[in-house]
């Protein structure tokens, strides 16, 4: 955590702020989703409460919190209550491990008659050396929230929804992990920070500088496509939202949930989307790096100072993440849902072989380039 009181305090505050960031993105995304779907379907969407319907979110929050609680009358109450809380954990833990900007160094300073520092604060919740393995491990725990919700509700539709959702999650986890192996082979590390540092500047192949940024997507286009599809399936969103198929299963695993508990499932889902977008940006779009013709991190530090540079790069990161979050919304209102057997066929018979082929070809090319 840190060497002295100041460092421990700042690091704890950082964790809290990152968690709140994940929670606070939800109302914004709900607004984007509603207005975006309305735009796509040529409607108006929420436009009465406040300018552009922006304060609709506040009204919704009040409604969610003060709604009457409904609990199914079975003795699985603990699991029923625990499920929404468990749904929050994977997203929060995984998002805190992604670096959001360059580290901030603080010089020695005097406070309370004592000198503190120097410190280096990372712009992320905590640093995990194994980066992506940790994130995959933690986010695979997300399946338990669904299973607990389905079991705790003691309702057959919830149960079916939970079974479908978790089967889908563990099927696509394989393709998700394998689609990332290529990029890990190219950058030769698990660590997010090193991966982002490796994507600086311009792409150079065999001594020739190409007019492309040195981003992962230009090395691994197939891996990127597979990763995007697998991530859509992992977050259980359209076109993969079988567990919530309204026409067959009412609302899937959260049929019995209402009010703030329902809202916590939404926070979990949007947190998952946030983590997925963050991973896409980190692995395939250079993290917080700007393209080569714009000022890089060192120049920004030289001209604006460390803190301002970190803030600017953080805004760059957020802009990239926002683009992917919009793509999530866009796809949801564009593509219809898969049938269940089509979903499993896509996962096991199409994506897995392609991911394996991508891995093998990348391994051969990397071996040949390095030797």
């Amino acid at each position: 955590m840190g060497a002295d009181l100041f460092e421990i305090g700042v690091n704890t505050a950082k964790l809290l702020v990152i968690f709140l960031m994940m929670v606070q993105i939800v109302p914004l995304l709900v607004w984007v989703e509603r207005r975006g779907s309305a735009y796509i379907q040529n409607r108006f969407g929420p436009n009465r409460v406040g300018p552009l319907g922006l304060t609709q979110l506040l009204a919704d929050a009040v409604k969610f919190i003060f709604k009457e609680e409904f609990i199914p009358d079975k003795n699985r109450r603990f699991i029923f209550y625990a499920a929404p809380v468990v749904a929050l954990i994977p997203g929060a833990l995984a998002f805190a491990a992604i670096p959001l900007s360059i580290p901030i160094s603080v010089e020695t300073f005097e406070l309370f008659g004592q000198s503190w520092g120097p410190y280096t604060f990372l712009f992320q919740g905590y640093e995990v050396g194994i980066g992506i393995v940790f994130v995959l491990g933690v986010s695979s725990l997300g399946a338990y929230a669904l299973l607990m919700a389905g079991y705790g509700s003691s309702n057959k539709y919830s149960m079916f929804g939970a079974l479908r959702a978790s089967a889908q999650m563990i099927s696509y986890e394989l393709a998700l992990g394998l689609s990332l192996v290529g990029i890990l082979l190219i950058f030769n590390t698990f660590d997010f920070q090193q991966i982002i540092d490796a994507q600086k500047g311009q792409m150079v192949i065999a001594g020739n500088a190409l007019p492309l940024p040195n981003w992962g997507i230009f090395y691994q286009p197939i891996g990127f496509i597979l990763f995007v599809i697998a991530v859509f399936a992992e977050t259980n969103r359209l076109p993969f939202d079988l567990p919530e198929a309204e026409s067959e299963l009412v609302a899937g695993y959260h049929t019995e949930y209402g009010g703030i508990k329902m809202n916590m499932f939404y926070i979990g889902e949007y947190g998952h989307m946030l983590v997925a977008s963050g991973l896409m940006v980190t692995f395939y779009f250079g993290g917080y790096n700007l393209p080569w013709f714009l000022p890089q991190a060192e120049e920004l530090i030289a001209s604006y100072g460390n803190v301002m540079a970190a803030v600017i790069l953080h805004l760059v990161f957020l802009a990239k993440v926002g683009l992917f979050l919009w793509i999530f919304v866009w796809v949801r209102w564009t593509i219809p849902r898969f049938r269940y057997d089509q979903l499993m066929d896509l996962g096991w018979k199409t994506m897995l072989p392609w991911a394996l082929a991508n891995t093998i070809i990348t391994a051969i090319v990397v071996f040949w380039m390095r030797s």
Binding site: I79, V128, G129, I130, V133, F134, L136, G137, V138, S140, L141, A143, Y144, L147, M148, G150, Y151, M159, A162, L163, S166, A167, M169, I170, E173, G177, F190, D341
Partner: protein
């Protein structure tokens, strides 16, 4: 050193509590959830012992995939009431408990008596303390243990085929293919 020991005792308490939950809870699904938490505790021990990669794999493979399979199978079964959650026979159970007690006390006795355990040191694949060992682990797997690794790959393939052939539905949705 204090933080170290507090973390160790907290993790051991978690692991043992949830392991006992697996043993005592008559409801199989609740036992499975307990086992998941025990495995998360074991992953915490791995992280604490600076084998972060194994901790991540423990979370992803054990807690994330294997236990989800257990819970899913249990939920498909939907056991209404469990017949004989624990084995019958007073004398037999006493014997089993005694055997378990003997095993644990023998191990603990041995460990305590040999407290100045001489740790073997060889020069093969030394890990620098305090550093993550993922790269050394990968080197070892793909050089010294590559045969075992390949055999495991074949074993996994056989297991996948075997599991499908055991639990296959004859004439299901994919009957004609």
């Amino acid at each position: 050193m204090a933080g170290d020991s507090i973390l160790f005792y907290a993790l051991s308490f978690l692991i043992i509590y949830f392991a006992l939950g697996v043993l005592m809870n008559p409801n199989p699904i609740k036992a499975a959830f307990n086992l998941v938490l025990a495995m998360v505790g074991v992953a915490g021990v791995f992280f604490h012992l600076q084998s972060g990669f194994l901790g991540g794999v423990q979370l992803a493979v054990y807690a994330g995939a294997v236990m989800v399979l257990f819970v899913m199978v249990l939920m498909i079964f939907d056991l209404k009431k469990e017949r004989d959650a624990f084995s019958q026979g007073f004398l037999g159970n006493i014997g089993k408990l005694l055997a378990a007690g003997i095993v644990v006390s023998l191990v603990i006795n041995n460990v305590i008596l040999s407290s100045d355990l001489q740790l073997a040191t060889s020069n093969a694949a030394k890990a620098e303390s305090g550093r993550d060992t993922t790269k050394i682990l990968a080197d070892l797997i793909f050089t010294e243990y590559v045969f075992a690794f390949e055999v495991l790959g074949i074993l996994l393939l056989l297991v996948a085929i075997g599991a499908v052939s055991i639990s296959r539905i004859k004439g299901g949705t994919h009957a004609d293919s």
